[in-house]
């Protein structure tokens, strides 16, 4: 029994340390609009693109967009939705279901806000978490179904190109762009570094920043 208590105490202590470490890491990330990270012996960082880089990003986005719409194998989101209907998959009704989940969640949230009864709190928490999970799973399903849409492909390209532009290595106290060209970035087999850079770029920019404005409307 005493041994079990000791193990529990150690586990609690370790969890607390992990929590503090995570908070410290996050505090470091929040302090400015750049994120430094270490991999092996090297120090890397990602930062927000500057004005010149944003202009380059815009040019590349236009080029990629032209390339995508010139290729008949790429379809807009709306076109995929119509294609799926023929296969018996109704994305619009799935989207409606996501919204319905939201209304249901909101009803239970109001109930939760107004109660102080422990048993009711537990029950409502379980219900809301279940609904949120179902809503999340359905959203992921929709995202997966539309992953090949022009809008999505363009967004992936923008995040990718942006990562190439802002990933830097510290060399003798100076920051230098890590990849000489986007082609070199694309060919890189340093998956852990690229994944980490992608992950941190996501901390810096909203996905909406990469979307092609009104691209879905262009189908109509």
């Amino acid at each position: 029994m005493e041994e079990k208590n000791k193990t529990e105490l150690i586990k609690t202590g370790l969890d607390a340390i992990k929590q503090i470490e995570e908070e410290m890491k996050l505090e470091n990330i929040v302090k400015d609009n750049k994120i430094e990270f270490k991999m092996g012996d090297e120090i890397y960082r990602v930062r927000k693109p500057d004005f010149i880089e944003l202009q380059e990003l815009d040019i590349q986005r236009r080029k990629k967009y032209t390339q995508l719409i010139s290729d008949d194998s790429y379809l807009f989101r709306e076109e995929w939705i119509k294609k799926y209907i023929k296969k018996g998959i109704d994305i619009e009704s799935k989207e409606k279901k996501v919204k319905t989940f939201q209304y249901e969640i909101e009803v239970f949230l109001i109930k939760l806000a107004k109660t102080a009864e422990p048993k009711t709190i537990v029950e409502l928490t379980k219900t809301i978490e279940k609904l949120r999970n179902e809503q999340f799973e359905l959203s992921i399903e929709i995202t997966d179904l539309l992953s090949y849409s022009i809008e999505n492909q363009l967004m992936i390209f923008m995040v990718s190109y942006s990562t190439y532009l802002v990933l830097e290595l510290k060399k003798q106290d100076k920051w230098v762009r890590f990849h000489k060209s986007y082609e070199e970035f694309e060919k890189s087999d340093n998956t852990p570094l690229i994944s980490k850079a992608f992950y941190f770029v996501n901390y810096l920019k909203y996905n909406e920043d990469y979307n092609e404005p009104n691209s879905s409307k262009k189908t109509s």
Partner: protein, 111 residues
């Protein structure tokens, strides 16, 4: 992105005290950069304001809000949802009640 840790950080006494001082003094800085906030800084700022407001509500003894609610992420979300929904309802009511039948002033050019 670990929002739970970010919320804990925003809720912490240290950051709430700092945020209060920044709001009151107007010259203290929260971040190294003054502009061009990153997405995570933006979200962090949002939660700093949210918890600042929650602690104010708690001090004012607003109904349904307790320390236990603030310590629980989902219950906090529920309270905030109720608060903002109630606010938007009141705003809509106010819009209706303040609508007057007096015609607005029409400006005409003098010839």
């Amino acid at each position: 992105m670990n929002l739970t840790v970010l919320r804990k950080l925003a809720k912490s006494n240290r950051f709430q005290a700092l945020y209060r001082r920044v709001k009151e003094s107007g010259f203290l800085k929260l971040f190294k950069n003054d502009y061009d906030l990153s997405k995570i800084q933006d979200i962090f700022l949002y939660y700093l304001e949210i918890y600042y407001m929650l602690y104010q509500d708690l001090a004012e003894k607003k109904p349904y809000l307790t320390e236990e609610v603030i310590d629980n992420e989902l219950r906090t979300d529920a309270y905030l949802f109720m608060k903002f929904k109630h606010k938007s309802k009141n705003d809509k009511k106010r819009e209706v009640t303040t609508a007057s039948n007096v015609p607005s002033v029409i400006f005409k050019r003098k010839n």
